[in-house]
């Protein structure tokens, strides 16, 4: 099996429209400000951490296919374009890029609007909205932007399905069907999604955005980060509950060693966090929990975890990073990235990564 290199990272999050803003926000260790999200029929608002407006209008929004797109498509596109920057730098013919978009809730904004219009009067429901409600819409628009995209796929599932997107991308690379593959996790927020989350955790803070990893086989494109392993998907069943599945996943990840970090999905929600906390109870090393800073971004959160993990390795702060994806209602999967064996001379670990430990 070939080595799989991480060749680029992309992010749109409540922290901003690039990886740097994600890095800065996570580095500051402080949860981003929470804003009220009005919920029709309630006096008390729900809570959100929205994606801020970009400082300047991204040029890709002027592409004809991007007219009328919903925010999730714009987040996915921005993250993908940032992630593939390095592999498209060579000039000449662009490499063949596979696109895999992973979603849990998907295009909820236009879906809610269109269904609301349908209930009021189906005869006047907007035909412009409906195509953008389809799960496959973001991938289609990203493909139009990236152009040389022979293979495109949209996967749905709980956030752990992001790992299956990575695994599928690896298969495409190893079969030579693409030269690089960008795997995107994206979500957008609205009151309905926040309402759904509220039923499981009244303190939940919903967020949106996207994260993207570009994978490739060409070492010249590498950021200095290898994708080392993805565990089996430990599915929740009547016999294997979430806690047991998380423990099985943890057992398949390597034992803790120096200069490693755990990038987990904890969210200050005792009930939701219990399975993952238990699985990693013995972990006493550095740890980072992006959701505590950014909010619950569902599939985007899974992608942010991977982006943050790779960014910390690429910056030379850690030898390896374990990403723990204990999904809400599907499966638990672990992913591990490393620096490909580079020696880190300075092992004085940054305090920022440990201080969020739960």
């Amino acid at each position: 099996m070939s080595r799989i290199f991480v060749c680029g990272l992309g992010s749109v999050s409540p922290a901003g429209w690039d990886v740097k803003s994600l890095r800065d926000a996570l580095g500051k260790n402080a949860p981003l400000p929470v804003q009220p999200l009005m919920r029709p029929g309630w006096q008390k608002p729900l809570k959100m951490r929205p994606v801020p407006n970009p400082p300047v209008r991204p040029p890709f929004l002027s592409h004809p296919n991007m007219r009328r797109t919903s925010p999730i498509t714009q987040y996915a596109a921005a993250a993908a374009l940032e992630a593939v920057k390095k592999v498209r730098q060579g000039g000449g013919v662009h490499p063949r890029i596979g696109i895999i978009v992973c979603l849990q809730s998907g295009c909820v904004q236009f879906t809610s609007r269109f269904f609301e219009e349908t209930l009021k009067s189906p005869a006047t429901a907007s035909p412009l909205l409906f195509p953008e409600t389809v799960f496959a819409a973001p991938a289609s628009h990203v493909a139009a932007l990236l152009e040389n995209t022979p293979l495109v796929c949209t996967l749905t599932g709980d956030p752990s399905a992001y790992s299956q997107g990575l695994a599928l991308g690896i298969d495409w690379l190893q079969e030579g069907r693409v030269d690089a593959c960008v795997v995107i996790g994206a979500e957008e927020l609205n009151w309905l999604l926040a309402d759904a989350l509220w039923h499981f955790d009244h303190r939940a803070v919903i967020s949106g955005g996207a994260g993207a990893l570009c994978l490739g086989l060409n070492p010249e494109w590498s950021l200095g980060v290898d994708l080392e392993l993805i565990t089996d998907a430990h599915t929740y069943t009547t016999r294997t509950n979430r806690k047991l599945a998380a423990k099985k996943m943890r057992a398949k990840m390597p034992a803790q060693s120096r200069a490693e970090i755990l990038c987990d999905g904890l969210n200050d929600s005792p009930r939701a966090d219990a399975a993952e906390s238990s699985a990693w109870a013995e972990w006493n090393g550095s740890r980072i929990s992006p959701k505590l800073i950014l909010g619950e971004g569902l599939m985007a959160s899974a992608a942010w975890q991977c982006v943050a993990a790779c960014d910390l390795i690429a910056s030379g702060k850690f030898n390896a990073a374990n990403v723990s994806l204990v999904g809400a209602n599907q499966q638990a999967v672990g992913i591990r990235f490393n620096n490909g064996g580079r020696d880190i001379s300075d092992l004085s670990l940054p305090t920022m990564a440990g201080s969020l430990a739960v």
Binding site: M1, I4, P40, G41, W42, L103, T111, F114, F115, E116, T118, P122, A125, S126, P127, F130, P131, E132, T133, V134, F135, A136, A137, A139, S140, A143, T149, L151, V152, C153, T154, L155, T156, G157, D158, A161, S163, Q164, L166, A167, L168, E175, L192, D195, A196, H199, F200, L227, L229, I230, T231, D232, T235, T238, R239, T240, K252, N329, Q330, V333
Partner: protein
């Protein structure tokens, strides 16, 4: 491990079908569907599942689900929570499962295609959240069961099995992509068995969406007819049990057919309109033929995507003409959407099962409503039920968003 894995086996194992289950408006199961397809029946009826009084079109290929679910390993509580889509998925899965003779396992990969999952549950959630904002009863359950991974888990629970679940949502190509990716999983050596297929239930949002786009036919669905005026929606599910030939033969399983090729491509022309020349459709068929090591001349029947919309059928006809070349005049083509409607995420898997039926029973499904050939079609549309020698069949699926996919299946003898 999902990664790293063993090197891909060389040569790739052959992948056979040992079970096929189907639920459409023509019936629940292989036998009623085969009889109805063969007779050229259609399954369209007035929609009563939701209010269509203000819609332009008021019919669809609705499944009659008035049936008690067979005994499974689901608890009564789980059974009560099954929505329409889950029931159709479960019925198709049970039929395929029984036919295959598989026994429960703890590591059975599942690859399913769907566009809407549990959308009807999502619609109920929305209505209650808007109309009764302080009434929360049932809402947490709806949040969980609306999601397609929960529906897949329920199916596995019913079969007493477990395994990794992959849900593909490439719009109308989802079912074909699911089977294609399952086929690839086995050929890559990732699994020796995969349960795969697609499902989608009619729901108000999607019905209204297609109606708003004015893509629904106000008359009848007539793919490739010169006077076609749109598609007809349907619902259903189809599930296949795929395994290596070695696995099937070692346990003496009855083999229903073989999947020999799969091709996927991307049409970036427009979110909802295919490239007018059908370039990506042509590419998907070419790739499938390359992987199957066959040429157009080897294909005895083509089950077209054939939605009945002017743009799709025009582009697909051009792609078929180009792909088939000199063989196009002799190539029998039909779209079973004329009989069961467009099953969206289930379309590709249901049409793959129809191809397996044709290969097993040696007939071609007709389009009875077809009258006047579109001049763009250089191929022969099957307009009457006919017996035929079918050794190799090709099935096309093209999705909103541009994902195109083609499967090639071969008769097992």
């Amino acid at each position: 491990m999902l990664f790293p894995q063993k090197p891909f086996p060389s040569p790739a194992p052959r992948v056979v079908i040992t079970g096929a289950g189907i639920v459409t408006s023509l019936g629940l199961g292989w036998k009623p569907n085969a009889a109805a397809f063969r007779a050229g029946k259609t399954g369209f009826r007035p929609v009563t599942l939701f209010d269509v009084s203000q819609q332009r079109v008021k019919t669809a290929a609705v499944v009659d689900l008035a049936v008690n679910l067979p005994a499974t390993q689901l608890t009564e509580r789980q059974k009560q929570r099954l929505d329409r889509a889950s029931k159709m998925l479960l019925l198709a899965a049970l039929e395929a499962w029984q036919q295959s003779g598989w026994e429960a396992r703890d590591h059975l990969p599942v690859v399913l295609g769907t566009t809407a999952g549990g959308m009807t549950i999502g619609e109920d959630y929305f209505r209650q959240a808007v109309n009764l904002p302080n009434h929360h009863k049932g809402q947490p359950t709806r949040v969980l069961h609306y999601q397609s991974q929960t529906q897949a888990r329920m199916m596995l629970d019913a079969l007493g099995s477990a395994g990794p679940i992959t849900i593909i949502s490439n719009a109308c190509a989802s079912g074909t992509n699911a089977i294609g990716e399952a086929w690839q999983m086995i050929r890559r050596g990732h699994a020796d068995r995969v349960l795969t297929g697609g499902y989608d239930a009619l729901n108000q949002m999607v019905f209204s969406g297609f109606d708003a786009l004015q893509t629904l036919s106000p008359t009848s669905c007539r793919p490739f007819d010169a006077h076609r005026d749109g598609l007809a929606l349907g619902e259903g599910a189809a599930v296949l049990t795929l395994e290596t030939l070695e696995s099937a033969q070692s346990r003496g399983a009855e083999i229903l057919g073989e999947i020999i090729g799969y091709g996927a491509s991307m049409d970036r022309h427009h979110l909802t309109q295919p490239h007018p020349e059908g370039d990506a459709a042509y590419q998907a068929m070419q790739l499938a033929c390359t992987s199957a090591k066959v040429t157009a001349g080897d294909v005895d029947y083509l089950n077209a995507h054939g939605t009945g919309t002017p743009l799709n059928d025009q582009a697909e006809a051009k792609a078929i003409n180009r792909w088939a070349g000199n063989h196009v005049g002799a190539l029998p083509v039909s779209s079973t959407k004329a009989g069961i409607g467009h099953l969206l995420g289930a379309a590709g898997s249901a049409e793959a099962v129809v191809c397996v039926m044709c290969l097993r029973e040696q007939w071609l499904p007709p389009e009875l409503a077809f009258e006047t050939p579109d001049p763009a079609c250089a191929f022969r549309i099957v307009s009457k039920s006919e017996d035929a020698s079918v050794k190799t069949a090709l099935s096309n699926s093209f999705g909103f968003g541009g994902v195109n996919a083609t499967l090639i299946l071969r008769r097992w003898s």
